[in-house]
């Protein structure tokens, strides 16, 4: 038996499981809680595999001193990769302890069972339990992956709703977020951000900033890195607010309005490649249909700004951060600071939902840079709201041109997706610089942008290949290196724009063929799990009862299997369009394989629907204002409570013990469903997101 990826990288069993505290099982995971409920699911997996009650599990997470290196908590991979690894590690531990117990009892391990950590033989107590055995059996051994895992048919904890372990702290307002963390003698800091790489700090009106602070502050400056530090958070905040007018920079570049739309990318220099089927020898005689869709730059727009705490003492740096990957951040900090990784500990503390690579890593770098210059004194850096909007990496704009050659029945025989995008991989773990490194003296060179490898699901090309039965499919990828804003991973990466484009295109082809959109999809979808979610979502939404085109009210459908290998989801949306779009209802059917915590999975699918609806209807990082980008929630509006549709989600049973990642599964299908419903309600198609009032009015006027 071979070990799975994550377990092969971290084979030592004592890195995963410990019985050091009597009656408790300490479980370690490299995955971190981002509000998705991952730690609860991990606890369920461990409790199930070890046969202990859920309340005995204590989870340690995302700590370079304590937990396995699982890279980033991203890509809907936590259950599919991390959960499977934890399950095997627990099975190996259980087998190791039972083998030892069997030896002591003079019986075969198969005669033993476990009930809540106690070892039974023939159902009777043996006097042994995990905690007594663990004193004699070292878990400082490598996993073998040879222990049989519990069959899914025997699950009693996995597959049942478990209350999220992290939620009570949030409902009772406890200090669970990094913003709430306080260390003795801690200083507060704000960074006066270098506007862009290469901009130089000309002057600081220190007296004016001190006046604005109204309490003592100090400045930490190195090259073009400038921070305001003080005992009083109100004082550093006030000084940072005043810095906009009192700190002068040279070489400031701002994105320009003409770079705002994804169409700007199409004529730019790019790194090009083609994957998939060779170009067709001839499509002569076939009808060709072509359309171009786009999505703009999107902000992660976390509800709270990024924050970090750091302490440098006796040559050792500890950084507390809400980033998605403590090990990659440690490596990037070591590079930036010239420290050995062993001199740095990076520990995860919860933050506001991030939905990808936001300012968290950069805030951690800020705290580290300041801490090194204030040795012995812990420092907490919190970004300002304006700073988060202006300096976090954005989800890249994408233009997607689709071209199909159709058979006589109007079904595609040959399919080309041509994509223009900046990179979706701007993470420090991928070689990109931390912002502070750009401002310090001798900034490192810019790494040549690369996108997420196809083996990891791809970045811009994610879900560009349709799951539909098409004889020849190819993707032409133009990676545009020089883009107006730093870009990086946003929930789903290229999947949302690609699925929006392809599901809208499929509807357009269905309309040309005179077919119902659901029937048209099913006619070229042979994967039975895919068919099932489409059929179920259509049934949930009473698909047959629809208004005629152009009636101002319509249903639309969208479908995808995320990354063509994670969860399947179909979404039907019903909406009304007058001058703008009003969402009425969304129905979702999903197949997530083995589901660990059904209610948490539904929460993720619902949240994905709402966030995608917000992207589709409202969101764009616009450059056509004085600041060259949004700075607040007025210049970057998101969906509000009154604009949320009712949502029904059904999880379909799957006879499998393989979980399929769900965190990003509904974003693309929702975008397609809204695009299609708006097109049907209006009687004309809008191919550029967001579907704003201005675009709807333009479409109506063009009729």
């Amino acid at each position: 038996m071979t070990l799975s990826g994550v377990l092969a990288d971290n084979p030592r069993l004592d890195r995963w499981v410990s019985f050091a505290e009597s009656g408790k099982v300490a479980i370690s995971t490299g995955r971190v809680e981002l509000g998705q409920g991952v730690l609860t699911a991990m606890a369920q997996i461990a409790a199930e595999e070890l046969d202990v009650a859920l309340h005995r599990i204590a989870i340690r997470s995302g700590d370079t001193e304590l937990t396995p290196n699982e890279g980033y908590t991203a890509g809907s991979q936590s259950m599919q990769a991390g959960g499977v690894a934890l399950r095997q590690a627990c099975a190996d531990v259980r087998a190791l302890l039972l083998a030892y117990a069997a030896g002591k009892l003079g019986c075969a391990p198969a005669e033993l069972t476990v009930r809540d950590g106690r070892i039974l033989r023939g159902g009777a107590p043996t006097g042994h339990d995990y905690w007594s055995l663990a004193a004699a059996v070292s878990l400082a051994a490598d996993a073998t992956g040879s222990a049989a895992r519990k069959p899914a048919s025997q699950y009693a904890i996995v597959g049942r709703n478990a209350a999220r372990l992290d939620l009570p702290g949030k409902v009772f307002g406890q200090p669970v977020f990094i913003h709430d963390m306080t260390l003795d003698g801690m200083a507060h800091a704000r960074v006066v951000r270098q506007p862009n790489r290469g901009a130089t700090l000309l002057s600081i009106d220190e007296a004016a900033l001190r006046r604005a602070a109204r309490e003592p502050i100090a400045f930490v400056r190195d090259g073009n890195f400038l921070a305001i530090v003080g005992d009083s958070e109100a004082a550093v905040e006030a000084a940072a607010a005043a810095a906009a007018d009192r700190v002068v920079w040279q070489g400031v570049e701002r994105p320009r309005a003409l770079q705002q739309e994804a169409s700007w990318l199409i004529q730019r220099p790019s790194i090009d490649r083609t994957v998939g089927a060779p170009q067709p020898a001839a499509t002569r005689g076939l009808q060709i249909y072509e359309a171009t869709y786009s999505r703009p730059h999107l902000a992660h727009a976390s509800i709270g700004p990024s924050c970090a705490v750091a302490l440098y003492r006796d040559g050792h740096l500890t950084v507390w951060t809400h980033c998605q990957g403590v090990y990659p951040l440690r490596a990037a900090l070591a590079r930036m600071l010239g420290l050995e990784p062993s001199a740095i500990a990076v520990r995860h503390v919860q933050g506001p939902g991030c939905y990808g690579h936001n300012g968290a890593d950069d805030a951690a770098a800020d705290a580290a840079v300041i801490a090194l210059r204030t040795p012995g004194r812990p420092v907490r850096v919190r970004w300002r709201r304006q700073e988060e909007f202006a300096h976090e990496p954005v989800g890249p704009a994408m233009a997607v041109k689709l071209r199909a050659a159709l058979d006589a029945a109007g079904h595609p025989l040959d399919w080309t997706a041509e994509i223009w995008s900046g990179t979706h991989q701007g993470r420090p773990g991928g070689g990109a610089n931390l912002l502070a490194a750009e401002a310090l003296p001798n900034p490192p060179p810019l790494a040549q942008p690369v996108d997420v490898p196809d083996a990891a699901g791809g970045g811009a090309v994610r879900n560009a290949e349709p799951l539909y039965d098409i004889a020849a499919k190819r993707v032409v990828h133009h990676l545009v290196p020089d883009v107006p804003r730093r870009t990086s991973a946003l929930r789903g990466l290229g999947a949302m724009p690609n699925i929006f484009a392809l599901e809208c295109f499929i509807d357009e082809l269905a309309e040309r063929a005179g077919k119902d959109p659901v029937d048209y999809r099913l006619a070229q979808l042979s994967d039975p799990r895919a068919r099932r979610v489409v059929e179920r979502a259509a049934a949930m939404a009473d698909w047959q009862r629809r208004e005629p085109p152009g009636a101002g009210r319509a249903k639309g459908i969208g479908f995808a299997q995320y990354k063509n290998r994670a969860a399947y989801a179909a979404v039907v949306v019903e909406l009304e369009v007058e001058e703008s779009v009003r969402l009425l209802h969304a129905w979702c059917a999903a197949d997530a394989g083995l589901v660990i915590n059904p209610d948490a999975v539904k929460n993720q699918l619902e949240g994905g629907i709402i966030q995608s609806a917000s992207w589709v209807l409202k969101e764009q990082v616009r450059f056509d204002n004085d600041a060259g980008g949004p700075l607040d929630w007025e210049s970057y509006p998101v969906l509000r409570f009154s604009e949320i549709p009712e949502i029904d989600v059904e999880l379909l049973d799957a006879a499998t013990d393989v979980p399929l990642g769900v965190g990003e599964a509904t974003a693309g299908p929702t975008a397609g469903a809204i695009g299609n419903a708006v097109a049907r309600a209006l009687g004309s198609r809008i191919r550029d997101l967001p579907l704003t009032r201005e675009r709807i009015m333009a479409a109506l006027l063009a009729q």
Partner: protein, 161 residues
């Protein structure tokens, strides 16, 4: 002007030393009184993370000068309930698993408290309107609305709510 401000926080009279009158209430709560349950979201009175009740009304605290709450009653999430004695709203949020990252929840719970204090039987639309000053970025909106409905029913004394 540096000085002391007296106010009532969660039913307890407090006297806080502030550097000047303009120090935001949120700053006093979080750093002065160590009541970090009220979250900083934007500092611009736009997102609702920092909503507290001032004399029973939901108000943003991030840009609210401390001097303007002198002598007034402030209720924060810490004053709503505790794990041992949860407010019906808090219990309902747990029952409905209403939240993801949870950063917005303190402000939402207090907006909801103010709503139920003035309208014990709000419709779904009325709940949504009452929460329109609170942003939620994770998309837990429908769970949150259901939780408020559940809490309202429980506060009305309806069985099985």
């Amino acid at each position: 002007m540096a000085g002391n401000v007296e106010l009532t926080v969660n039913g307890r009279p407090v006297r806080v030393a502030v550097a000047h009158d303009e120090v935001p209430l949120l700053e006093v709560l979080r750093n002065g009184l160590r009541l970090t349950g009220t979250r900083f979201g934007c500092g611009l009175e736009q997102c609702g993370c920092c909503i507290v009740l001032i004399d029973g009304k939901p108000e943003k605290s991030c840009a609210r000068p401390i001097a303007t709450v002198a002598g007034r009653q402030v209720t924060t999430i810490e004053g709503l309930g505790t794990p041992q004695a949860p407010h019906p709203l808090q219990q309902a949020f747990l029952d409905e698993q209403a939240g993801q990252c949870g950063y917005c929840l303190s402000g939402i719970l207090l907006s909801a408290k103010a709503l139920l204090d003035r309208n014990p039987s709000p419709s779904r639309a009325e709940i949504a309107r009452a929460l329109d000053d609170n942003l939620c970025r994770c998309g837990a909106h429908n769970r949150i609305i259901r939780a408020v409905e559940r809490a309202a029913a429980r506060l009305r004394g309806e069985p099985r709510a």
